[in-house]
Point group: C2
Chain length 352, copies 2
């Protein structure tokens, strides 16, 4: 069997991280990269990554997606360009129409029907029409606060309440995330921006919760009740991207509650901050399930969000190639797994 | 859509537990039970369960499987009769040839190709020929020491070592399990029976480990290196089924190591005993993964083995109905989840 061929659209932290990880894998190769950033466009991929190219063919980063992707020119395109379905939609459509499978890092793509049901139907239709499939995944949404929860409920004969908690560090993330989360603001500015609706905070609660409630068969009363609170630091904190003085915002604590028939059935708790240890906070992923039996799970420290998202995307490549055509989510496909062997051994379909 | 129809073959602790759990579910009904035990045969199922039948039709437990199952007379048969593939094989074949999907509790059926590759191929062939599918599952093998491990590796870009630990209580289990595990023996008798190969201990290490190594792409050097040690109690311990004096065996500690190219890549640790708290032992499920990143997970106390197996079997019913024909394992199908809504909402295929 020939190697699996992958293209990457968006060569920021996630896209370039996927490339680096894929270079260590067997039976799979990167055949194209699309990125417009002036620091990267027209440069050779291995050189940008600071990796020895060895005897691999050079891959030039191209700003024009129509030059990177031709019809069926690769098996999967990893799209790491957006967070929101409506913004990602035209790009995803373009790839699907070239008869190429898609894995998207867009948080909302983890369960697009939660907030963009029309686009979800349309993506499903386009994918089927072109005989390919599309999946949104990542560490969260995609695993820690949803798929992993569901997997554990598999051991329960009854389920009455889900609490899903992720207490993690924002230190690895750059300026864009700092802005989204309000890191560096004064408490007053944070509250004002939250009121004005200009702080994004974590994107993914609606996706995680709708994925879970659909999977177990609960019908949500409506959108989640969410809130965002500033995490104000008592001590100065600093990362390679930002410096926050004592008394200022080091992170953002998001809560989201899902109600079913008036009862709070799902609780999402997600405080994120830079250098949490300076606030005396131990990071971790925690799942608490009530039912028969009760289940209490802890992963400490938390699974790194950057590596985790990169891993989920590259590890799901075989599943999306093997899948029947259409829009898929993590609850439709076999579980992710870290592929350390040859990627080709995981493929169950004919590659064209 | 009509209700999902289920038959149960084997009405011991597992089979009757599944029946009880299913009676609380929507969109699914039990249409037949096969069991030969003189305490149960020819009796009405609800009465045997001690459950109010309400307006449900009576279901008489029948010792003749050919009277319980006719061609396509139900959607799934839950087979809770055996632990070993070779012993279960003729029964599973019989059900498949009646064009009925199968979920088996047989531990070895969780990954039958590990120890019975010929029977696995044959079951796959028979299932496909009859347009149905067959799955082996349970709490372990099936979830705690294998599928859950794999799910967590999904967040890793590299994996170098797996340690999977399950420290659990045998107190809920009856005489058969006490005998298999050597509970109540003297230390000397335990060691003698172990040497003679007459102690079963835990069944499932080969299945769990082969499932994991196949999924990630490691090729095992050969069978696992396993060992069994008696857990001798310092104090008397007692359950509703057995009484063990101080100085006697309260449980069995199984270890299993999987080697890849001479290196120990997978470590299975599974001490099981009655009343572990009397030995100062805290039960739990622990997964420790080395790679990028390292991951450390703890579930305390352990997920109950009896409820867990019952749950896994009834929760996988939609997946096995929706599946393409053939022999399936937990790594081929979407993740299990506790179904609290209507079972019919989970079905994606036409029921005949």
């Amino acid at each position: 069997m020939r190697n699996i061929k992958v293209a990457i659209w968006g060569f920021g932290a996630m896209g370039s991280g996927m490339a680096k990880a894929l270079l260590n894998k067997k039976g799979i190769e990167i055949v194209g990269v699309c990125d417009l950033h002036p620091d990267r466009v027209d440069r050779e991929m291995h050189e940008v990554l600071g990796v020895n190219r060895g005897d691999r063919a050079p891959v030039y980063i191209n700003g024009n997606i129509d030059e990177v992707l031709k019809e069926k020119s690769c098996d999967v395109c990893l799209c790491a360009t957006d967070s929101f379905v409506k913004k990602a939609f035209p790009r995803l459509k373009l790839v699907l129409e070239k008869k190429i499978n898609v894995i998207s890092t867009a948080e909302e793509m983890a369960y697009p029907k939660a907030q963009s049901p029309e686009e979800a139907l349309e993506l499903d239709r386009i994918a089927k029409e072109n005989g390919v499939s599309i999946l949104g995944t990542g560490i969260n949404p995609g695993l820690m606060m949803d798929l992993l929860v569901l997997t554990l409920t598999g051991a329960m004969t009854d389920l009455t309440h889900i609490k899903s908690e992720r207490i993690n560090s924002l230190s690895p993330f750059g300026h864009a995330v700092m802005e989204e989360q309000g890191v560096g603001l004064s408490k007053e500015d944070f509250i004002e921006q939250d009121k004005a609706g200009t702080l994004a905070g974590h994107v993914g609660f609606e996706e995680s919760v709708n994925m879970m409630t659909d999977a177990v068969g609960w019908k949500l009363d409506g959108p989640l009740k969410t809130s965002m609170a500033p995490i104000v630091t008592d001590v100065p904190r600093e990362t390679q991207y930002i410096k926050v003085d004592a008394g200022y915002v080091a992170g953002c604590s998001m809560l989201g509650d899902g109600y079913v028939e008036g009862e709070k059935k799902v609780e999402m708790v997600h405080p994120q901050q830079i250098e949490p240890q300076l606030g005396g906070v131990e990071t971790g992923d925690y799942i608490t399930l009530a039912g028969t039996p009760n289940i209490s799970m802890a992963i400490t420290p938390e699974i790194d969000g950057g590596i985790g998202t990169i891993a989920m995307c590259i590890n799901m490549i075989p599943q999306i190639i093997n899948s029947r055509p259409g829009l898929k989510t993590m609850i439709d496909l076999p579980v992710p797994r870290c592929i350390v062997g040859d990627y080709r051994d995981m493929i169950e379909v004919e590659l064209n």
